[in-house]
Amino acid sequence: MGRLAQGDREALTPLVERHYRRLYRIALGYLRQRDDALDVVQEAFVKAFQAAGRWDGSADAGPWLSRITVNLAIDRWRRNRRRGQTFSPLAEGDHLEVLADRGPSPDRGVLRREASDRLGAALQELPERQRAVVVLRHYQELSLEEIATTLGMSLGTVKSSLHRALHRMRATLAGSES
């Protein structure tokens, strides 16, 4: 990050290699659309490079990049909502890619896909920040303290957000099953 702060483009590739997959999963967990998630991650690295001069260098770059990614995912979500494009279940191929090595049964694959779509719909019902907390906790397995650092929230707010989010999702999922 020090090299990046001095505008060294060569520092970009190792940074991307190190954080790309993790940031992609955050964006995908939030937006649940592959192309949007990829755009968001690309934009996050551009913003990180442009803002690297203002980064104090004392902290790990991971939470900083995660925060940029979450904020951009929220922006993208708002933009999609304004255009009337909110949640749409992932395309067949998107699921097949990640399910390919999970088992031979096509029925099982279909069930998992349906479960994932229901889960996606329940996540999209959450308020923006609550959804971010759920994604960081359950898709990145961050500790509550790490989530607080990443999102700039107090620990208490993270706990109450997650608590409310889980109950709200339970209600949505129960409704979609009945």
């Binding site: 590739t13 999963r25 990829l38 690309q42 699921h95 889960l119 997650l162 889980l166 109950h167």
Partner: protein, 265 residues
């Protein structure tokens, strides 16, 4: 007492959601042991939330792999940074500067016969038109050999750089040209690949020892360009991904960058 119970009730609810740890968790568990009503509430809430936690834990998107290799994304980011660095208003300046630069290059070709000969299709015959005696009158043999070597290396560097641009264009394309059939637009990349493949003989054969260190990269670049040259302009996503995987597996973009730098000295 009632307030204490309410506070602990809240903590028990957080416990059911897996959100307390350490001392707080110990207190909640101790309260559960002493309060049957709270224990029943905790168990019920825990059962309710289990379905959500299980669904989250088994979501396949948690382990989804990004659709592009990291190197390709890094190239995209670099291009986006380049685009952001040139303000839109400066494009008009380029429109003026480019013809002027082209005119200067044309003038250089007219005034420098050795350069002109170098870029003709039949360079061996063309070089013979420069009388050796005349050339040696101006420069020593060693100096001429050095210039020849530098020109060959510069030409190879330019070739690799152009090939790298073509491969990045293909690898980073995300523009749909036929959404229904899941096809992507690779623009002029196949045509540019064919032109570069024609140039290759000139670069490798004429370069000789001067570009010997680049032979491995040049060979791999040739294979990749042959793949691209066979693509139509509107190509199936699967075929683009095959090229991407091949480029990534050979670490070709990085090797091109390093070799170009080495050749440029």
């Amino acid at each position: 007492m009632i307030f204490g119970h309410l506070r602990l009730r809240r903590r028990v609810s957080l416990l059911a959601a897996g959100l307390v740890s350490g001392r707080e968790r110990e207190l909640a568990l101790a309260h559960l042991a002493a309060c049957a009503r709270c224990r029943a509430a905790h168990d019920a809430e825990h059962d309710e939330l289990r379905a959500v936690l299980t669904a989250l834990a088994s979501d396949p998107l948690r382990s989804a792999e990004p659709p592009l290799p990291a190197g390709v994304l890094a190239a995209r980011v670099a291009r986006a940074l380049d685009a952001a660095a040139v303000p839109a208003g400066r494009k008009s300046l380029w429109l003026v500067a480019l013809p002027a630069a082209a005119a200067l290059v044309a003038l250089a070709f007219v005034l420098l016969p050795s350069v002109q000969q170098r870029f003709r299709p039949e360079p061996v015959a063309a070089r013979a038109t420069i009388p050796p005696a005349e050339a040696s009158a101006l420069l020593s043999d060693d100096a001429l050999a050095r210039i020849e070597r530098n020109l060959a290396r510069e030409q190879a560097a330019r070739y690799l750089s152009e090939a790298g641009e073509v491969l990045v264009t293909v690898a980073a394309t995300g523009v749909d040209c036929d959404r229904k059939d899941d096809r992507l637009d690779v623009g002029a990349a196949p045509e540019r690949s064919r032109v570069l493949l024609e140039k290759r003989r000139l670069v490798v054969d004429e370069g000789g020892e001067a570009v010997a260190s680049a032979r491995g990269v040049l060979d791999d670049v040739e294979l990749a360009l042959r793949q691209v040259a066979e693509l139509p302009a509107c190509v199936k996503r699967r075929d683009v991904e095959l090229v991407q995987k091949d480029v990534e597996a050979r670490q070709l973009l990085m090797r091109i960058r390093l070799m170009t730098r080495e050749l440029e000295g």
